[in-house]
């Protein structure tokens, strides 16, 4: 101890001469720009996926319906409500927000006598911090929902390789790639409502993550006995509503479904699917072995009913077999799905044409219920001048004949009219045939729509281009040019605009921009329609119709109590919608025939 120790503390007095450090008005002092304060939500951007709710370890977030926000495809209509009696301002909800709609302002003062008041829906309940410019925003490279926003690469054949054959282009994911892709899914379930048959998408993706493929198959078969097929050619509306697409690629839901089916052996699938219920003694006839008919058959057979499916062509599968080329959907895949359906006791009788071999009347009397699921097997024609020439063909006819192994007289040069998937299918089929026969591809595809409005998948368009098909968009077919009785090509006009403000078709042409596309065959691949002639005139007259389609109730029952109708012929062309319809109709038939209300 020294004298210094006594004096030294008095140095504190020097602070008498310093400026005070107090903040003059601390209340409401601006926080740092990054400060994590109260939440903001852009409710227009928000899709109500609930990922914020899932991540919140405090259970602070509820998803609640909000007035003025409609549930629609890709938007649940729910918005997060935050309980500041739970929140810890960790901002994990901001970090995982799929649309970057949820943010935090740097405002932090909220006092209230009422403890119940601390619950609010950011963006809906007006708060003073709604417009705060600063606050926590997720840094761009700060990413918690998977290392990448991009879809796992799908291995497939190179264009040079695939153009020469009809082998399947897409190889499918291996287990590792599938796990990585499945890992990107946030399990929000927005896709489920969009899927026509409401497949348990998040659940089966989870099964992939867990490596539990038997569970995956069981989940798939709950809603879709055409999973191998849909895993390849589904129109995958689900992917268009995937939450992941807001900041990257949608999850490859279709490929993951295919992956599950690829991983499990046929025997195992049959084991998982299980055996039908005890026989009920009821009989159902189904006309048409396409997705709708066979799905209904599968459901009804599983419930123990005796089901006979009549198919006019020589193999089951309908448009999936005869409309979709082999390189997209190999025939053995169809056989595989059909085989499982057969395994639950469905009796499929091919080469039986109703109306010719057996009458519909006969089915009516022999069975408790009859379902017609005919599909849309006839192609529409443009009926432009010259379109009645024999070398002007319909795409669906050509595809059917190619499947049947017939020679279609492959032209050296072909022009395809249409911008949908069928047009792509026939163009690419012709390209392959040309490559095989002549060594070079000369196919021109013209479509009314401009590229962004093509009905075909983006993948299809891209791959067609890679395979050497020339795609000309916004071309209105005007005339098939005929010289010396032979088709020499197609004349088109430029389409200036095709849709009006409401997005409805209203084309305008530029006649000065006329083009001639040479080709010895013109293929029309526009719309399709059903051939309902098997109903006969009397029954056609008897049935109620609705804008050209059979009028059916929610369960697919027509105005005739014994007759149901399903699939493309009532819903429009789409495999998975047909499957969904098959389920609905099967449920309706089951209810009708087990309650004995059959007339």
């Amino acid at each position: 101890m020294s004298f210094k120790d006594v004096l030294s503390p008095f140095t504190a007095w020097k602070h008498l001469f310093h400026d005070p450090v107090s903040i003059r008005n601390p209340i409401g002092r601006a926080a740092a720009p990054r400060y994590r304060g109260f939440h903001q939500n852009d409710i227009e951007k928000c899709i109500g996926c609930g990922t914020c709710e899932t991540i919140c370890q405090n259970g602070a977030i509820d998803m609640v319906p909000v007035e003025g926000i409609q549930t629609k495809q890709g938007d649940s209509g729910l918005r997060p409500r935050i309980d500041y009696g739970r929140c810890c301002w960790c901002a994990l909800c901001v970090d995982v927000c799929m649309t970057k709609s949820l943010n935090m302002s740097n405002i932090y003062t909220w006092v209230e006598s009422d403890g119940d008041a601390f619950r609010f829906i950011p963006g809906v309940d007006k708060k003073p911090w709604d417009d705060a410019a600063h606050g926590y925003r997720r840094p761009d490279d700060h990413q918690l929902t998977g290392p990448t926003r991009l879809r796992e690469h799908m291995p497939e054949m190179e264009p040079e390789e695939r153009i020469g054959s009809f082998a399947e282009i897409v190889h499918g994911y291996n287990v590792e790639a599938a796990k990585l892709e499945a890992d990107r899914c946030v399990s929000c379930g927005l896709c489920v409502a969009t899927c026509p048959t409401h497949m348990a998408i998040p659940q089966y993706i989870k099964a992939i993550r867990d490596g539990d493929y038997d569970l995956g198959v069981a989940l798939l078969y709950e809603t879709n006995p055409f999973s191998s097929i849909c895993g390849r050619v589904c129109t995958r509306k689900c992917e268009s509503t995937c939450a992941a697409r807001h900041e990257g690629d949608a999850i490859a839901i279709r490929w993951l479904k295919r992956h599950i089916m690829d991983q499990v052996s046929d025997e195992q699938i049959k084991k998982v699917v299980g055996q039908p219920a005890a026989p009920t003694g009821r009989k159902v006839a189904i006309v048409g072995a396409g997705p709708a008919g066979l799905t209904a058959a599968f459901d009804l057979a599983k419930k123990g009913h005796q089901v006979v499916v009549y198919e006019a062509l020589d193999k089951p599968g309908g448009m999936t077999r005869f409309g979709i080329p082999e390189y997209r959907l190999p025939y053995d895949v169809i056989d595989r799905d059909v085989d499982v359906i057969r395994s639950v006791g469905v009796d499929i009788r091919c080469n039986v044409r109703i109306g010719q071999d057996i009458t519909l009347e006969r089915l009516k009397s022999d069975f408790d219920a009859v379902l017609i699921a005919l599909g849309l097997q006839d192609g529409r024609g443009t009926r432009i001048p010259g379109s009645d020439q024999p070398m002007v063909r319909k795409a669906v006819d050509l595809l059917r004949r190619v499947t049947a192994g017939e020679d279609i007289g492959t032209p050296r040069q072909a022009v395809v009219i249409g911008g949908g998937n069928v047009a792509m299918d026939i163009a690419r089929t012709l390209a392959r045939l040309q490559k095989k026969q002549y060594g070079e591809v000369k196919v021109i595809l013209t479509a009314l729509e401009d590229l962004p409005h093509f009905l075909a998948d983006a993948d299809e368009i891209k791959e067609s281009g890679e395979e050497g098909i020339i795609i000309l968009d916004s071309r209105g077919p005007q005339q098939v040019v005929i010289e010396n009785g032979q088709v020499t090509g197609l004349k088109t006009w430029k389409v200036k605009a095709i849709f009006d403000e409401q997005g409805r078709f209203a084309p305008t042409y530029d006649e000065t921009d006329e083009q001639f596309h040479p080709g010895t065959m013109v293929v029309e691949a526009i719309g399709q329609m059903a051939d309902t002639s098997l109903l006969g005139d009397a029954l056609t007259e008897q049935l109620a119709w609705q804008r050209g389609r059979l009028q059916v109730d929610a369960g697919g029952r027509t105005s005739e109590a014994w007759l149901w109708s399903a699939g493309d012929m009532v819903r429009g062309p789409d495999v998975v919608s047909a499957v969904a319809d098959g389920h609905r109709v099967a449920a309706s038939i089951h209810a009708a025939i087990t309650q004995g209300v059959q007339q």
């Binding site: 503390p9 991540i55 370890q57 810890c88 840094p139 700060h142 929902t145 998977g146 990107r184 946030v186």
Partner: protein, 393 residues
Amino acid sequence: MLDIFPPDRTQYPAKKADGTLDIDLTSGKYLKLWQGPNHPGITGNMSVELTVCGDEVVEGKTHVGYLHRGFEKLMERRTFIQVFPIVCRVCVPEPDFNEYCYAACVEELAGIEVPEMAKWIRAMILEMGRINSYMMYLGGQAGALGQGVIGQWTTYVRDLMLDRFEELTGARIYHMFILPGGVRDTLPDGFAGRMEETLCEVEKTLKDVYDVMFCNAVFKKRTVGMGVIDPSWLEPYGVTGPNARAAGVAKDVRKDSPYLIYDQLDFEPVTGQNSDIYTRADVRRRDVWVSVDLIRQILAKMPKSGAVMAPLPNVLHWQIPRGETYVRGECSRGEYGYYLVTDGSGYPRRINVRGPSYTHAMALLERMIVGCNISDVAALMVSLHTYPPEIER
């Protein structure tokens, strides 16, 4: 001091056969005195049950549990990312070590390599937190002996450091910035300059603290020779950190088994010899200087750019293979560690938080408090620099 006023051992209670003291409250010789939890002379929300004879403590029992939230249980029912926001709550004054140790455990078991930049930022945050913690301590230590002004100064500079924390991490106290995989964000523009200003303030305050607190006859009188931790107690009582370093043992995890980027920094652990309250305070004061220097080194040596987050799997369903590990760091109180056991699921099987206060405030304090004067209990307790929440979690 002990030499001048030797304790009167004759008044001490006898030991019973099982080793406990035979304290008969009906004898009138002893008084039970509770210090805490609501008491100005207590560190945080804990309490010491004192049995006094006269004004001399013959037995002391630490009581904790006032801040128990069952963290280790709560962590078991949260996913790996969901644990991240709650770990910092284990220790209020220096939360970053929880974040670091937890993140390091997870990264080790999940096999994640943290980007270089993130390591430097982490180290800087840990040193900033250490300064804050010591500032709290210096204020508390002086306050326990009635010197309110020190706390006024140190809390002020701590607050300046909190401003730095705020602009860097987006929060003042619970930063939630170090998460498995890296850190949330890079340094804001002009951060180094503002940090330097703050460090200058810290240095200025440290000089004042030295003059007013450490060169203070009263402080010296009351702390020199008081509350000695015998070097032989270090191992049995698991004493770490400044408490051990004040006893002459250069125990410092940063040096013993360097983590993050401490092997690239130039520093020496601060040690003292006398192991009394004064030495412990002095070791901590000098440790602040080390931290100030370390932050300057870090800002000078750290990469100018680079990723701050390693790619993580989707945290919503992040599973970690079965395993167990222990990660430690040197916090302001000593060895801070997380013991993580995983079972292959998406949730931790078990997390155990090993805070230095656990040993310091329990067994060690109970031993040291015996023979102490009631008026010195607060100073002694503070000198061990214990934070109750990390004891009971």
